[in-house]
């Protein structure tokens, strides 16, 4: 009888880490050719360019890994293979935050003058309002998703998320009407998600810390998450405290999503697909998924972002990275779907 042995775990883990590091290096070596040409430059870049690429590839890796982690946690928590970090209305919350920033940001900036660090953070664009919006939406969903007795209930959570998403969409439209003439409609660009070399290094480090904290926490939940895939009563009888497990999964997923939104905005699909792909390749054991899904999502997002970064000349300017994650990830996902009979 084959058991998931320590040996197999180690092999999967070591090779996943190795591939991630290799892809990271590869992405650093790829960039756009000279302006106007359609070539892609491959090779070790000069140090100032390398600095820019490090920020961007690093941000992509962090955002991807965080999405992959949040995807595993939420699919496990909601027992729903279609869950992803944005099903719970988190992305919609962040968009509302950014929209509110576009409308009211000027006034806010003025009131913040005199606090240099606050000024600097706010000048760094949309990360802070996005986080505030995402945080508010997450908190609301959390409050609404509890049953009597305080335990999070998967079905109530999903429904609350859908409703919060809808309300968020309405708020975005409402705020859109209040945008003064002359302000740019940055929101269009924001909603697709993008990763920038201009991301403040402080934010990148903060996102990395948040992700690592969430990851470390999540790695201790693997075994319990496996058992929580059974019915509530069975999980209970096997020694799982469902209320605290669900709270931890939710909180850690929210932290990881926050890390990703900080550096990349609401990039969809990555968090949905990477747990699926890893489940298809290595099985549903969460102890293994919690390692492979973040790493494979990081690889996927780094490659996608490197593609859009290097091919601006092909598409009359850079594509939003969400276009590539959906166009490449979608068919691959469908291939896996047809190859396996079920995706429970």
């Amino acid at each position: 009888m084959k058991m998931i042995t320590t040996g197999r775990f180690q092999t999967i883990m070591v090779s996943a880490i190795a591939v991630t590091v290799l892809v990271f290096m590869l992405c650093l070596a790829i960039g756009p050719g000279a302006p106007g040409s359609r070539a892609i430059a491959i090779g070790f870049p000069p140090s100032d360019i390398l600095q820019l690429r490090l920020t961007r590839v690093g941000a992509a890796a962090i955002a991807g890994a965080a999405l992959g982690l949040a995807g595993v946690l939420l699919q496990g928590l909601l027992r729903n293979p279609l869950a992803d970090p944005f099903v719970l209305g988190i992305s919609s919350g962040s968009t509302v935050g950014v929209m509110a920033w576009i409308v009211f940001g000027e006034a806010l900036s003025e009131s913040c003058s005199g606090h240099p660090w606050l000024e600097e953070l706010l000048a760094n664009g949309q990360a802070i309002p996005a986080l505030a919006g995402a945080g508010a939406a997450t908190w609301l969903v959390f409050l609404l998703g509890r049953r009597r007795g305080g335990m999070l209930d998967p079905m109530t959570l999903i429904l609350s998320g859908v409703v919060i998403s809808t309300i968020g969409g309405a708020l975005v439209m409402l705020l859109n009407n209040l945008v003064p003439y002359g302000a740019r409609a940055d929101i269009l660009d924001y909603m697709f998600g993008y990763i920038s070399e201009g991301t403040s290094h402080t934010l990148v480090w903060l996102a990395l810390l948040a992700f690592l904290a969430a990851w470390a926490g999540a790695l201790t939940l693997g075994g319990a998450m496996n058992i929580a895939s059974l019915s509530d009563a069975e999980a209970h009888s096997l020694g799982i405290k469902l209320s605290s497990l669900r709270f931890s999964s939710f909180a850690l997923a929210a932290l990881a999503t926050a890390a990703s939104i900080t550096v990349a905005g609401p990039i969809g699909f990555v968090g949905l697909i990477s747990p699926h792909v890893c489940r298809g390749l290595f099985g549903p054991d969460h102890r293994q998924l919690l390692i492979t899904s973040p790493l494979s999502a990081a690889i996927f997002l780094m490659l996608s972002d490197t593609f859009v970064r290097s091919t601006g000349a092909w598409f009359n300017g850079e594509l939003p990275v969400g276009v590539i994650t959906a166009l490449c990830g979608g068919p691959f996902f469908l291939y896996l779907l047809t190859r396996r009979r079920t995706w429970m």
Binding site: M3, S237, G239
Partner: protein, 281 residues
């Protein structure tokens, strides 16, 4: 299978006849005012197989989930030894009580061996601080293999859950409970989907666990004849209340069963025969 010793659970001792699990005036409501379980008082002894019978909706499964500690009684309390089970740590409770549901559910495509191994999780967690962890893990691996042979699912070890038939799923859930190896075992119609050979096999195995390992087994069933032939004790529930609790021959009698089940009951050759009463009017 050797039995583990747990230090901080209120393990009530293995001597047959000791009261292990007791419900005192337990009531439970599912939202509405109609009780699902009302003022149930009963005690269950080590080494006894108690079969719980009763018509549909009489509260059998609810009582089982209350005894498991998954549902919290609205009134009364459930004690294991001298401790209220709602005060037990989840891991300690998992070391004390195992449970096989009526319809096992699994959300992802786990393989059979992974599902069976989940039975050992709490024990491994519970003992993870002790120096014997690795020894324990290898013992568990041995136990898991043994149980899968015993329940005839060894050949299915690498199948995923969605590839199994209902009966096979039920045996997987049973195997997990066996691996959990607890002094108290709660079974909710475990043989409902099993073929006759597996039914008889399971009954022999459970009787062995009760008689020789002094396990306390509670078995919810609709099969009154099986209860008549195999149970040490029978608990009859009707409309959320205990109607009778005692030896099968004392409680599975026409005078008790007929009003509960609204059928005509005859005893013939140690077998209960049932027939519909002629309609009145």
């Amino acid at each position: 299978m050797e039995t583990m010793i747990y230090n901080d659970i209120p393990f009530p001792g293995e001597a047959a006849g000791t009261v292990v699990l007791a419900a005192q005036g337990v009531s439970f409501y599912y939202g509405s005012n109609r009780p699902a379980v009302e003022a149930v008082t009963a005690s269950f002894k080590a080494g006894e197989l108690t079969m719980i019978v009763g018509p549909n909706g009489s509260g059998k499964s609810t009582l089982l989930q209350l005894l498991l500690g998954h549902l919290v009684p609205a009134a009364g309390k459930i004690t294991a030894g001298s401790t209220d089970i709602t005060h037990l740590r989840p891991l300690a409770r998992a070391a004390l009580i195992s449970y096989v549901p009526q319809n096992p559910e699994v959300s992802f495509a786990y393989r059979v061996h992974e599902l069976v191994a989940m039975g050992a999780w709490a024990r491994q967690r519970y003992l993870s601080s002790s120096s014997t962890t690795s020894t324990r893990a290898s013992i568990d691996a041995h136990v898991i293999t043994q149980v899968m042979w015993d329940l005839d699912i060894h050949a299915l070890a690498d199948r995923t859950y969605d590839e199994l038939s209902t009966g096979e799923r039920q045996r997987v859930a049973l195997a997990r409970a066996m691996v959990q190896d607890t002094p108290v075992i709660l079974l909710d119609e475990p043989s409902a989907a099993l073929d006759i050979w597996h039914q008889l096999e399971l009954m022999e195995r459970v009787k062995y666990l009760a008689r020789h390992k002094h396990k306390t087994v509670l078995w919810v069933t609709h099969d009154l004849n099986s209860a008549f032939a195999n149970a040490d004790e029978v608990l009859i529930l009707n409309e959320a209340k205990v109607v009778a609790h005692g030896k099968p021959r004392d409680v599975l009698v026409p005078s008790i069963l007929e009003p509960v089940y609204r059928v005509k009951v005859e005893v013939c050759n140690n077998t209960l025969l049932f027939s519909l009463r002629p309609r009145q009017g």
